[in-house]
């Protein structure tokens, strides 16, 4: 009988424990309030101390976490964090990156549950603006020096339409064609000055049994971001040209856009024979093995090429414009750092953000992570020669602009195709020969004009 009672009781205890665990599930949504409360407690106890010694509010030891999508740059960021710590001994910076494809969703989840890092990398335009609009990023309109250290066009990708900044720009990326100098010399090829010369050089290489371009379409994004979007500015006339599309003055199937798609069609004979199943990394390996003479890629890959392409001399040049057109270069704002509006250490976080405006930071970033270019006005010269070559494109060009679809064209209403996806699908269709350049431009226009209000006049049915 006693045994029976014991069994009954233990089952009841077990059940109530499980039910309690179950019951806590809905409470979990309120969990973020808990850390906030515990953080508020020390703050409250410190408040009188702060009033007693108002001159030294920075004295307490603070550890700031920095969220990022740059998993490859841990070593460089540890150097940067050490330099910052040397200057501000009471603030320690901890770099805590997330796998790039998961970054946006993971960060958002962290912010919503109150577990976000104190500081975090902010994507340009749409994604960052959306987080700021939702109240997760602290406004930086009072951050000293921000608007002096950066040009308006440098911080605009991380500011509201009315010009209120919410993140400090740290790096931009450039693009170009990596080329094998030995294969160029062996075939008597000089760096081409026009697109037509580039195609003639490609023909020469192909006839010599070399794959002219290593790019494929298996991963899809690269043909769009590192090929199409670095050709577009020269075709459409840079920033002014892009604004004509965004204002609705030009339709997305204009002759300039058809010309860009035509360039993709021109590349068709010169990509690897199995380009449909050649991935981004396959392309880099084809180049590294000396099987392909050129590859469209971003400045962020400098270190990959240095690591893999060790058997020959190589360099970079920007894809030239069509004969008779001016050269415009895609120099794209990539990353900025913002502060978590709910951070308990917002003052320390802003101290760090202000430090990002210094030349010391620009130098540390530009030289430790070649291919990511500091965006401050007074950024010093870089030590990496390839990185400097990328920077020189900006001086050779008539103008510099961002990637075509990044501003305003990636936030369609649910159930519509964004301009990035549409451009990507149509570029691949042209390269595969499924669509003509004109058909592709028409399809691109139909997708975007369907929802982008300024282009409403471009809808053709």
């Amino acid at each position: 009988m006693q045994k029976k009672l014991f069994v009954l009781l233990s089952v009841l205890v077990l059940a109530s424990m499980l039910l309690a665990a179950c019951g806590s599930a809905p409470v979990a949504t309120e969990a973020p309030a808990a850390p906030a409360a515990t953080e508020a407690a020390p703050a409250a106890t410190e408040a009188p101390a702060a009033t007693a010694v108002p001159a030294q509010p920075d004295d307490k030891e603070v550890t700031l976490t920095l969220g990022s999508w740059r998993v490859d740059d841990v070593a460089a960021w540890e150097k940067i964090a050490a330099a910052f710590h040397a200057e501000y001994p009471n603030i320690t910076l901890k770099f805590d990156p997330t796998n790039p494809p998961d970054y946006n969703a993971a960060l958002r989840t962290q912010l919503e549950t109150g577990t976000g890092p104190d500081l975090f990398f902010v994507r340009s335009f749409t994604v960052g603006r959306e987080l700021f609009g939702a109240g997760y990023i602290a406004s930086l309109k009072d951050l000293p020096g921000l608007t002096d250290a950066f040009s308006a066009s440098a911080y605009a990708p991380w500011a509201t339409d009315s010009g209120e900044p919410y993140a400090v720009p740290i790096s931009a990326v450039s693009h170009g064609i990596y080329y094998n100098k030995e294969l160029f010399a062996a075939n008597g090829i000089e760096i081409p000055k026009t697109w037509e010369e580039l195609m003639a050089a490609s023909k020469k290489l192909l006839d010599a049994g070399v794959i002219p371009f290593a790019n494929g379409t298996k991963d899809a994004w690269d043909i769009n971001e590192v090929v199409m979007m670095q050709l577009i500015p020269s075709d459409i006339g840079g920033y002014e040209g892009r604004m004509a599309y965004l204002n609705g003055d030009r339709c997305f199937n204009s002759d300039e856009m058809v010309a860009a798609f035509q360039q993709i069609a021109d590349l068709r004979p010169y990509v690897p024979s199995g380009f449909e199943a050649t991935s981004y990394y396959d392309g880099q390996q084809l180049f590294a093995q000396g099987l392909a003479a050129m590859m469209f890629d971003g400045s962020w890959s400098i270190n990959d090429f240095k690591r893999d392409s060790t058997d020959f001399e190589w360099g970079v040049f920007y894809p030239p414009a069509l004969a008779g057109k001016d050269l415009y270069v895609t120099f794209h704002p990539d990353a900025a750092i913002g502060a978590n509006a709910a951070s308990a250490n917002l003052d320390a976080a802003k101290t760090f953000l202000a430090w990002l405006e210094t030349n010391e930071f620009s130098e540390l970033l530009g030289n430790n992570i070649p291919g990511f270019f500091p965006m401050a006005k007074s950024a010093p010269a870089l030590t990496d020669p390839i990185a400097n070559d990328f920077m020189s494109f900006n001086n050779q060009a008539k103008g510099v602009d961002i990637r075509f679809v990044w501003e305003k064209l990636m936030e369609p209403p649910a159930g519509s195709v964004d301009a990035y996806t549409s451009l990507n699908n149509n570029v691949i269709a042209v390269l595969k020969g499924v669509e003509t350049p004109k058909e592709a431009a028409d399809a691109f226009n139909a997708d975007v004009a369907a929802w982008y209000a300024p282009s409403a006049g471009c809808i053709t049915k």
Binding site: M1, K4, V7, V11, L14, A15, L18, L19, A21, C22, A25, T29, P101, D102, Y103, N104, A105, R108, T109, E112, T113, T126, V127, E130, A134, G216, T217, K218, D219, A220, W221, E225, P272, S273, G274, F275, E276, A277, T278, D282, Q285, L286, L291, M410, E411, A414, G415, S416, V417, D418, Y420, T421, N425, I428, A429
Partner: protein, 319 residues
């Protein structure tokens, strides 16, 4: 034992030994039931609830009724993606049924008689199933690589250059190839299950048939296969459930977007892109719509399983 006798005993006392035996089973069931409720049933219903909401981010908060489902079936873009995914998943499933399960049955038949090296072959056939799907997907992606993959190298070396295709890069080709890779990996599962089924076929029946002069072909179709029918049913339903939930092999070999051109986009990759990862490069998920896709997938699976239960029960009554 009569009813009266039973109730008399019950009245005799709560702590009656016999009575205890009749009710204690509930307590043994309780832990499993609770685990099932907490980790399966509640999340499932919560996901169905979520499909009635919309909003950006982690917890969609705006109630929209069945709007997500209506959009899924009426908005041209969603409809195209969704029915594309249903079609691809169905093809994926059919290829598994046709190749994986047929080969499984064949291998089980070849392995059922006792011969030297039988264990070795059984191990070889089952080994791929013990590997990670990502590893298998990655290895086959390398083998199928158009630039340095073994398959195209072999084809070119024997003079079949025109057949050295970019296997994973062509619409219409990529999905069958990925399905075959998956079938290659999992063929050990139906093999083992059919083998177990064949072991249960009474030896006397086969012996009697042989004495009556039946050929091996006749023995298979007239004796073994009818007795294997319950196993065929279980293998089919497991394949169905696995395939309609399949995600990893496509993710490993074609990416979350179901490249090329959505031709390998399964229900699970569409769900992942919509509800969890978001579209590159913005990456803001639409959790409500994702939950709606998961909801429809759930109903497809439930319909399939109910159909199987109905058929297998009718089959049982026939026997």
């Amino acid at each position: 034992m009569s009813q009266a006798n039973d109730s008399q005993k019950r009245k005799a006392g709560v702590f009656d030994v016999k009575d205890r035996r009749q009710t204690t089973w509930i307590f043994f069931l309780l832990p499993a039931l609770l685990v099932y409720l907490i980790f399966m049933a509640i999340p499932l219903f919560d996901s169905l609830r979520l499909s009635l909401y919309t909003g950006k981010g982690y917890t969609p908060t705006t109630f929209v009724g069945f709007q997500n489902y209506i959009d899924l079936f009426t908005n041209p873009l969603w409809r195209e993606r969704f029915f594309g995914a249903v079609k691809n998943t169905t093809i994926f499933f059919m290829i598994h049924m046709l190749v994986q399960n047929t080969l499984g049955l064949l291998f089980a038949n070849l392995l059922s008689p006792n011969f030297k090296g039988r264990e070795l072959f059984r191990t070889i056939i089952f080994t791929p199933a013990t590997l990670s799907v990502l590893v298998v997907g990655f290895l086959w992606t390398l083998i199928l690589n158009p630039n340095w993959g073994a398959i195209n190298k072999i084809l070119i070396s024997v003079g079949l250059k025109q057949f050295a295709l970019p296997w994973l890069g062509r619409e219409g080709l990529a999905l069958p190839i990925i399905s075959l890779t998956s079938a290659w990996q999992w063929v050990g599962m139906p093999t083992v299950m059919f083998l177990a089924g064949l072991m249960n076929v009474p030896e006397e029946l086969l012996e009697a048939a042989r004495i009556d002069g039946a050929s091996e072909w006749e023995i298979f179709w007239k004796i073994k296969f009818p007795l294997l029918k319950p196993v065929v049913g279980i293998v089919s339903i497991l394949t169905f459930v696995d395939n309609f939930n399949a995600f990893d092999v496509v993710y490993a070999m074609a990416g979350a977007k179901g490249e090329p051109g959505y031709s390998t986009d399964l229900l699970a990759t569409l769900f992942y892109r919509t509800g969890i990862a978001g579209e590159h490069p913005v990456g803001i998920p639409n959790m409500g719509m994702g939950a709606a896709i998961a909801g429809v997938t759930f109903f497809i699976l439930m319909a399939g399983v109910l159909l199987w239960l109905y058929l297998s029960r009718r089959g049982a009554e026939d026997v």
